[in-house]
């Protein structure tokens, strides 16, 4: 059996990795809610943006916050450009053709980042160390871990505030629910979808920059997190952003328990297993509430 401090440590570790999963899942969820497309290029878009930060840091020797801002700016432009140049052009799109479009972009970006930045593993460092630790209430956590948890939490709050309390956020939610009704209220659905791609790409890029220091930066940086983020979104329910966040944390917790009790090596199977299981038992996800009309 585990004692109390071990349990707390386990939970904190899970929140740490779960944050990354949650952010990746959120990035996919934001696009999904706007356009009903799971964006499989999400990972590569994020990786590419991280490479931009890396270049600004190393080649130009800029301070971290400059690299961070430049990278997010790039991510935003990449997101809206993808929507404007590819997604919007698709005539009479089906979900399948849109998925193929995102996979197409994924391959292009993967090839491109290998070609432009090289395929070797690079060390990507944040100003927060992975090896220095602090102890909070008996739990030891790395600076990077703490920064990850806090940054993700702040970002989630920002997204929530934006959607719930700004005019544009309200327009986005309205357009997602009934685009015809949104249009006759003067809301451009094109603009809403475009903005969603931009925001989603930023969220993905932040996740990638928080994740890259843990392993190393290379074109396949986000393969694993993307699978996990996707699993988190399936688990929580693609239609519910809070659900996706919980899905991310729960997935990380299940993974850690699996690693503890069964095998560390095969931890990654958990995500796959969860995707299959959820699709089998409750395809809409755990947290997606399906509102019912009172008749």
């Amino acid at each position: 059996m585990m004692d109390f401090s071990e349990i707390v440590t386990l939970i904190v570790r899970s929140v740490e990795t779960g944050s990354i999963y949650a952010l990746v899942g959120l990035a996919m969820g934001i696009i999904y809610k706007a356009s009903e497309v799971p964006n499989f290029a999400q990972g590569e878009m994020a990786t590419f943006s991280t490479f931009i930060a890396f270049m600004v840091l190393t080649v130009h020797g800029a301070p971290f916050y400059v690299a961070f801002v430049v990278s997010l700016l790039f991510a935003y432009i990449l997101g809206i450009a993808f929507e404007f140049l590819c997604v919007r052009r698709a005539k009479n799109p089906t979900i399948l053709s849109m998925i193929i479009l995102t996979i197409g972009l994924q391959m292009v970006l993967y090839g491109l980042s290998g070609w432009v930045f090289g395929t070797e593993q690079r060390a990507f460092r944040l100003p927060f160390s992975q090896f220095e630790t602090v102890e909070i209430g008996g739990v030891v956590i790395s600076h990077l871990g703490l920064a990850t948890i806090i940054a993700s939490f702040v970002l989630m709050c920002l997204i929530y505030w934006f959607l719930e309390h700004t005019k544009t956020g309200l327009a986005m939610r309205a357009s997602q629910q009934n685009s015809m009704a949104a249009r006759i209220n003067g809301i451009s659905s094109n603009r809403v979808v475009n903005l969603s791609f931009g925001i989603s790409s930023i969220v993905g890029a932040i996740a990638a920059m928080l994740f890259a220091p843990i392993i190393t930066l290379s074109p396949d940086l986000m393969w694993d997190p993307l699978l996990k983020g996707f699993a988190a979104a399936v688990l929580g329910g693609f239609a519910s952003l809070p659900g996706i966040v919980f899905g991310g944390y729960i997935l990380a917790l299940i993974e850690n328990l699996f690693g503890l009790w069964f095998s560390l090596e095969y931890k990654s199977v958990v995500a796959m297993g969860i995707i299959v299981l959820v699709l089998y038992i409750k395809p809409s996800g755990l947290f997606s509430k399906h509102y019912q009309r009172k008749v």
């Binding site: 309200l170 327009a171 309205a174 006759i184 509102y291």
Partner: protein, 257 residues
């Protein structure tokens, strides 16, 4: 002054020829009614005006406030000052009542004015005030209709178009909704009203058009239409005395073609 001028528009849904040359002029300050049976093309007229049907109308010209709006996007047309209460209400089901009303003000600036207008909506529709936090999808049909009207009014339109606002409402509610439409008109908004309930519509309208199979077959002031034998028989349900039914109907139907 002519606020909306529709000239000879033709609208297709693929090969379905839905509007076969429709023309009308709507004067500022009036209430105009379009009457017609199911499938006549009433909704299609309104959707054509605000450009909701892709690449349509195929032919014709639409002017609002003297400016051509054919080929403009829905969002732009709405911004010019048209409010639209669509068929079937189309409220945002998972937004609250208050949020629904706020989306109506999307095109506007000026926080305090918007707040004042929200209060005004609650004066028009007191039922909504008690339900500001309720999800719109859980409202009754009548409440949803009120909400759809309130939402459309929030953009402060010069022209308010309503598509069958009385559909599915109890007689008492129908009366209430029409009373509110009359009130909105008195407060200075031009009204374009689409209805199957001809009796009610002609009570408040000052001008009306009769639509059949994508064409206007009659038009006139409300008084003229109410006195028209065909309108009486086919829309107001008043039987003419010497009814040799089938033959009579056939002859009457022919008359306005």
């Amino acid at each position: 002054m002519t606020l909306l001028n529709v000239q000879n528009i033709e609208t297709y849904y693929d090969r379905v020829y839905a509007l076969r040359g429709v023309s009308m002029e709507i004067q500022e300050g009036g209430i105009t009614a379009i009457l017609g049976n199911n499938g006549a093309g009433k909704t299609t007229i309104l959707n054509s005006i605000v450009a909701l049907i892709d690449d349509q109308p195929e032919k014709g010209l639409i002017e609002f406030d003297g400016k051509t709006i054919t080929n403009m996007s829905t969002e732009k047309i709405i911004r010019m000052g048209i409010g639209y209460v669509p068929e079937g209400r189309q409220v945002f089901n998972e937004l609250t009542v208050l949020e629904n009303i706020k989306t109506g003000a999307y095109t506007r600036k000026g926080r305090s004015e918007i707040e004042a207008d929200i209060d005004k909506m609650f004066e028009y529709f007191p039922v909504l005030k008690e339900r500001t936090k309720q999800q719109a999808g859980t409202l009754s049909g009548g409440e949803q209709q009120m909400l759809a009207i309130a939402r459309a009014l929030m953009s402060r339109p010069r022209l308010l178009m309503l598509d069958e606002p009385s559909l599915g409402l109890s007689p008492l509610l129908v009366k209430e909704v029409f009373e509110i439409i009359r009130q909105i008109h008195q407060d200075g908004t031009t009204i374009l009203l689409v209805e199957q309930n001809a009796k009610k519509a002609l009570e408040i309208a000052d001008f009306g058009y009769i639509l059949e199979n994508g064409r206007f077959v009659a038009s006139g002031t409300a008084g003229e239409l109410k006195a028209n034998d065909d309108v009486k028989e086919f829309y107001l349900g008043v039987k003419s005395e010497s009814s040799v039914k089938g033959y009579q109907r056939y002859r009457r139907k022919r008359r306005w073609r």
